[in-house]
């Protein structure tokens, strides 16, 4: 299963960063290809909570569901998606020397068949995934620091 990961330093406390990320309504703000999060069934910090999403993967519109796997305040938030994309997202935070956060965001995913059949060049898919990951890291930093 392909995996993508980014580490970014953010000038905010780990508690603040993980608290923000664990509110999945915020995800369209920093995941550029995520169009919407809706039908949230409850508090996304609780493991039984589920929601729906729409995502444009390399130009292909996908939709599916997701559910929280794990939430540890100030340390970790993870969730799993099903439907259009099978994937697992994990966000892990550690304090740095200056009181800020070293955030590592990683995702394991299966490239959907609909994407494979629509996108001719595999390199386009790789570029798309790497681009979304780069943007997400930089956008999260911008959201907290600017």
């Amino acid at each position: 299963m392909p995996r993508v990961s980014r580490t970014v330093e953010i000038d905010a406390s780990p508690d603040e960063v993980i608290e923000y990320i664990a509110d999945v309504d915020h995800h369209p703000a920093f995941i550029s290809a995520l169009n919407s999060v809706h039908e949230l069934s409850g508090n996304p910090r609780h493991s039984e909570t589920e929601w729906s999403w729409t995502f444009t993967f390399a130009g292909v519109a996908l939709q599916g569901n997701a559910g929280t796997l794990d939430y540890e305040p100030g340390k970790r938030y993870s969730f799993q998606t099903t439907g259009g994309i099978q994937s697992t997202f994990v966000y892990e935070a550690q304090a740095n020397a200056g009181g800020g956060t070293v955030l590592t965001a990683s995702s394991e995913y299966e490239i959907p068949q609909t994407v494979l059949s629509s996108v001719v060049d595999q390199n386009d898919i790789d570029r798309f995934v790497q681009g979304v990951a780069d943007e997400a890291a930089q956008d999260l930093k911008a959201i907290f620091e600017d």
Binding site: Y20, D25, H26, P28, A29, F30, S32, N35, S36, Q138, D139, A142, I143, F144, E145, D146
Partner: protein
């Protein structure tokens, strides 16, 4: 507020009720070919379309307005396959959306007349979202929107607005919005 049945999972026949209502019948040309019944996601949103229909047709029911409103709302909820066909959104819908976007990007803001004044990297930038007839939303962004955080805000607003209206007009630099009186 009247009670509206939850028809989210229902599939009901369209024609008998629709053809009995002249303003609604006018909308039938918007229907997608072949659609016999439509799944309803939210009835309340369609009330805005009902109000727009009233305006378009000059239809002002003097009596029994509430009954007519609810009947039309339900009929429209069956008739229109997507909220994209809404003719006009109330500005409060756009305001609520803008407010949510600014909150989700941790952007401090205040209201100034019909503008939102967002503070990004110490600089104030104005945003105004307004609706026009026939499903056009106009977005005025004043000030510089080149900085990354500003682009994150702008992109989220566009992303949130896109499902609501068929056409979005974006005006950068926004002399029009600048000329809006404060207060």
């Amino acid at each position: 507020m009247f009670a509206v049945p939850d028809w989210n999972r229902s599939r009901l026949p369209l024609r008998p009720l629709l053809y009995a209502l002249p303003p609604v019948a006018a909308l039938l040309s918007y229907r997608r070919p072949g659609i016999k019944a439509i799944r309803v996601s939210t009835v309340l949103q369609y009330i805005a379309a009902v109000e727009a229909l009233y305006a378009l047709h000059g239809y002002r029911p003097a009596r029994g307005r509430r009954v007519v409103r609810s009947t039309l709302a339900i009929a429209l909820s069956l008739a229109i396959p997507t909220t994209r066909l809404l003719l006009r959104y109330d500005s409060s819908d756009f305001e609520a959306m803008t407010r949510r976007c600014l909150g989700a990007t941790r952007t401090p803001f205040r209201r100034s007349g019909s503008n939102f004044v967002a503070t990004i990297a110490g600089t104030e930038r104005r945003i105004r979202v307004r609706s026009l007839m026939r499903g056009v939303a106009v977005l005025d962004f004043t000030g510089s929107w080149q900085q990354r955080k500003a682009q994150v805000v702008q992109r989220l607003i566009l992303k949130s607005l896109e499902p609501l209206v068929p056409r979005i007009v974006i005006r950068l630099g926004g002399a029009h919005a600048k000329s809006e009186p404060d207060g």
